[in-house]
């Protein structure tokens, strides 16, 4: 590779660690995150063992599903010229310099090397410690993957991203064919599983047998890679040997093809567009919607609502108008999931005896509320208000400004709570009072966690690093929720009204405490500056 690019890669690597040394809290947060990442297989060990998948065959099953349903579709995104990280600095310094376009592309791909390596090491650990694969077997698998899998994936990336011979129409056809084949295969697999289950009960062996069948192992490239996996884990068969041979040959062949392929920089325009999207997403510092994260632009609807309210209250009305512009009927598809969940809970209680007992309605609803409040981050709409420095010039208290900036979030929580609680309550035939209690507690608990998150993740996080702050926020959230959880243990011995009152008062106290603490720290623009 070009010497300057090698220098850039080396320096970036060194600077990354130098930056971490200057920010020890961020370094600690990253270390905790990496440790958590490597512990994921162990977190799932219990479930894997209970399901009887802690074997070589179980490893093959999970790796095969990952390859077919994650790796393959993700690789296809290279056709759309997405999936390669180009930043504005790369456009300015590399693409605008006399560097070979192919080497520039390989440089951009090399940024993912560490993540890929970490993932392969994680698989090694999972194989040895969870799936009881012998250490030597796992090491051989890892080393061969590091060489051949990486050669294959990078050469595919270069070919699919930068090829100037495959036309757009051909790319679209390739994608369609792959998705159709995948869909057909999935239908076939599901049919097999369902019919075998109905005949003689569920067993993962059916799925493993299908995924290890010659039909799958002969799928070009990805199937051949699975052939190698099956060979090393389950032993040799003629099909597996052929598939493995084809895997090695395709890795070498495609690498050679990518090496010889002419790349004149046709992809530069797409790289520029991608870098602009990245810059926009980075400027929002993680406060992005799902559609934005996938590179789609937000669609807006015409809505001619009038502004109402005075002082900080006008913020809420403005957000309401914005919401009506982005969601035609105020609610989005994600809000209706709560309705589906509520109906699902009710129907499960009706048709699945003993699984969901109506006597425990309040406990179930409060338990769900706690889960939703702790594990689902609040929307960042309040933050976008505080990013506009004119908000700080408005003569009203920071508490009013923060409360009104987050009021729409509480309104949406209320609507979602109705969607979740009312159908479940009606189907479970609980009293109206219990339904009202459940809705109120859902809103209060979520509002409480909103301000906890604002104080710790947004305000304190701006000073100590968001990764570390997220971990602290999670810990604090769990501690705060001990109160309501303990209260739930007394629902069978004390009156529901007493439990409801206790949890409500607790939630209101904590809510206002964190609202107050957040607002006094939102005096000026420095509060959210990193």
């Amino acid at each position: 590779m070009n010497k300057s690019l090698v220098y850039l890669v080396r320096k970036s690597f060194i600077n990354f660690f130098k930056k971490l040394i200057k920010k020890p809290l961020k370094a600690l947060g990253m270390l905790l995150l990496v440790t958590y990442y490597f512990f994921i297989p162990f977190l799932t060990k219990g479930v894997i063992t209970d399901l009887g998948l802690n074997t070589h065959a179980g490893f093959v099953l999970i790796a095969s599903i990952g390859t077919l349903y994650l790796t393959m579709p993700l690789t296809l995104t290279y056709f759309k010229r997405k999936g390669v990280s180009f930043k504005k600095q790369d456009i300015n310094f590399i693409l605008a310099s006399p560097t070979s376009p192919k080497q520039a592309l390989i440089y951009a791909l090399s940024k993912e090397v560490y993540i890929n390596l970490a993932m392969q090491v994680m698989f090694l650990m999972a194989a040895v410690l969870v799936f009881t694969v012998p250490f030597l077997t796992s090491i051989i698998y890892l080393l061969v993957n590091i060489v051949f899998s990486n050669l294959l994936s990078y050469s595919l990336a270069v070919i699919m991203y930068a090829s100037e011979e495959i036309t757009l129409k051909q790319k679209q056809w390739i994608k369609r064919i792959v998705y159709v084949v995948l869909a057909m295969f999935t239908v076939f697999l599901m049919t097999m599983v369902v019919s075998q289950t109905l005949e003689s009960g569920f067993d993962f062996a059916y799925i493993i047998s299908v995924l290890s069948s010659p039909v799958v192992l002969m799928i070009p490239i990805f199937g051949w890679q699975l052939g190698w996996l099956n060979l090393i884990m389950l032993g040799p068969t003629p099909v597996r040997l052929i598939a493995t041979g084809l895997f090695f040959a395709s890795a070498i062949g495609l690498t050679f093809y990518a090496y010889r392929m002419k790349v004149s920089g046709e992809y530069y325009e797409d790289a520029l567009s991608f870098s602009e999207n990245i810059a926009l997403l980075e400027s929002k510092k993680g406060d992005i919607s799902l559609t934005e994260a996938f590179g789609h632009k937000k669609k807006n609807y015409a809505y001619k609502g009038e502004l109402k309210g005075l002082k900080s209250n006008v913020i809420f009305h403005k957000q309401f108008i914005e919401r009506r512009r982005s969601k035609k009927y105020f609610l989005g598809w994600s809000d209706f999931i709560y309705l589906i969940a509520g109906i699902g809970l009710g129907l499960t209680s009706l048709f699945w005896d003993g699984f969901i007992v109506p006597d425990y309605f309040l406990e179930i609803m409060v338990g769900l509320s706690i889960y939703l409040a702790v594990f689902f981050r609040p929307s960042a709409d309040w933050k976008s208000e505080f990013k506009n420095h004119y908000l700080f010039l408005m003569p009203d208290s920071p508490l009013n400004k923060l409360f009104n900036a987050s009021l729409l979030e509480h309104l949406l929580t209320f609507v979602r709570a109705i969607f979740l609680v009312v159908p479940a309550g009606l189907l479970m035939r609980v009293s109206l009072l219990e339904i009202l209690y459940a809705i109120s507690l859902n809103v209060l608990l979520k509002a409480m966690m909103t301000y906890v998150s604002i104080l710790i993740e947004a305000i304190i996080g701006a000073k100590i690093g968001h990764t570390f702050a997220s971990i602290i926020s999670m810990v604090v959230s769990v501690i705060i929720m001990i109160g309501p959880v303990v209260a739930l243990f007394f629902t069978q011995t004390l009156s529901t009204f007493l439990i409801f009152t206790a949890i409500s008062l607790y939630a209101i106290l904590v809510l206002f405490l964190f609202l107050y603490l957040s607002s006094i720290n939102l005096r000026n623009i420095e509060s959210l500056e990193e």
């Binding site: 502004l307 403005k318 914005e322 420095h389 004119y390 010039l393 408005m394 009203d396 623009i525």
Partner: protein, 299 residues
């Protein structure tokens, strides 16, 4: 004269770097002050401290008698400001943006908003979405927004950005009117020295976070002459001893600033001649604001 803004030994440190050092300044009612300085001098930081957008590390700032930190809301109630680029909501029309800001201030009438729209010449485009506005139009809308609450103090950071000459003239005229007729105190930060010269009463020059000069814009009391003489060093000593004038020797001529008590340059000429110093030329120089600024901010 009533002091509207009192900046008392103010300092600002960010990441252990002193951005503003021990800065003291008072601005009076009805005065238009120009804030000048090279890029990175600390002008915007000072403005941000005055309006309370950032904390003050040391010292105190009060606006209309209210401490900006401890009586923030009372101080803010007297301020209208454009700090950096006006941040409007792009999907709202200009009218709706003004309506939004008007509601924030609790009591700005529709007539007042219409008056401001007319003043900034946006009547024809006020119902268009702000995302379709040019930079100049957004700037004018920002000025309307800053004037909405009839502030006693108007702070404008680079207000002429994006304005055409007619727009600049209109803004200048209105600022002078606000200051003279309504006694509004105006602070204008700009790089356009010609505009500052026309708009302001006084200038405050900041360099590397320190206030290095506060001067009247039209300082007619000072006149500058360039003398080309046979013995410049002797002439310098003579000027100091006889007239208490400290002159500057630049290349081959003396730069002499006449003090107020000397009505013309003839007494200097006479003194040189009487002391045997030959005079080759005497040239009056208009010491423009740009000259003064560059002289004061030179390294």
């Amino acid at each position: 004269m009533t002091t509207t803004i009192a900046i008392d030994k103010v300092g600002k440190t960010i990441n252990r770097k002193e951005i503003i050092k021990d800065l003291s300044l008072t601005i009076n009612e009805g005065e238009v002050l120009g804030l000048l300085g090279p890029n990175g001098a600390g002008k915007t930081t000072l403005i941000r401290m005055i309006v309370g957008l950032i904390d003050i590390t040391e010292g105190q700032i009060s606006v209309c008698g209210h401490d900006v930190e401890n009586e923030h809301r009372d101080a803010l109630g007297n301020i209208g400001a454009i700090v950096e680029n006006p941040e409007m909501y792009p999907f709202f029309s200009g009218q709706k943006n003004l309506d939004y800001f008007a509601r924030m201030h609790n009591g700005v009438s529709k007539e007042k908003i219409a008056e401001l729209v007319d003043f900034v010449n946006l009547t024809d485009r006020i119902n268009d979405k702000v995302k379709d506005y040019s930079l100049g139009m957004k700037q004018r809308l920002g000025i309307a927004q800053a004037l909405m609450n009839d502030p006693k103090v108007l702070i404008l950071d680079e207000p002429t950005n994006g304005l055409d000459p007619a727009g600049m003239q209109e803004l200048r005229r209105h600022i002078r009117m606000l200051a003279k007729e309504k006694n509004v105190t105006v602070i204008v930060s700009s790089h356009l020295l010609s505009e500052i010269e026309l708009m302001c009463d006084r200038i405050a020059i900041i360099k590397k976070g320190e206030l290095i000069a506060v001067e009247n814009v039209r300082d007619e009391a000072k006149q500058v002459y360039h003398f080309k003489v046979s013995e410049p060093e002797k002439a310098q000593v003579l000027l100091q001893e006889q007239f208490d004038i400290i002159s500057q020797l630049l290349e081959d001529y003396l730069v002499v600033e006449l003090p107020a008590e000397l009505s013309d340059v003839s007494s200097l000429v006479k003194a040189f001649v009487n002391n045997g110093i030959a005079i080759y030329s005497v040239e009056p120089k208009n010491h423009s604001l740009e000259d003064r600024f560059l002289h004061l901010t030179a390294e």
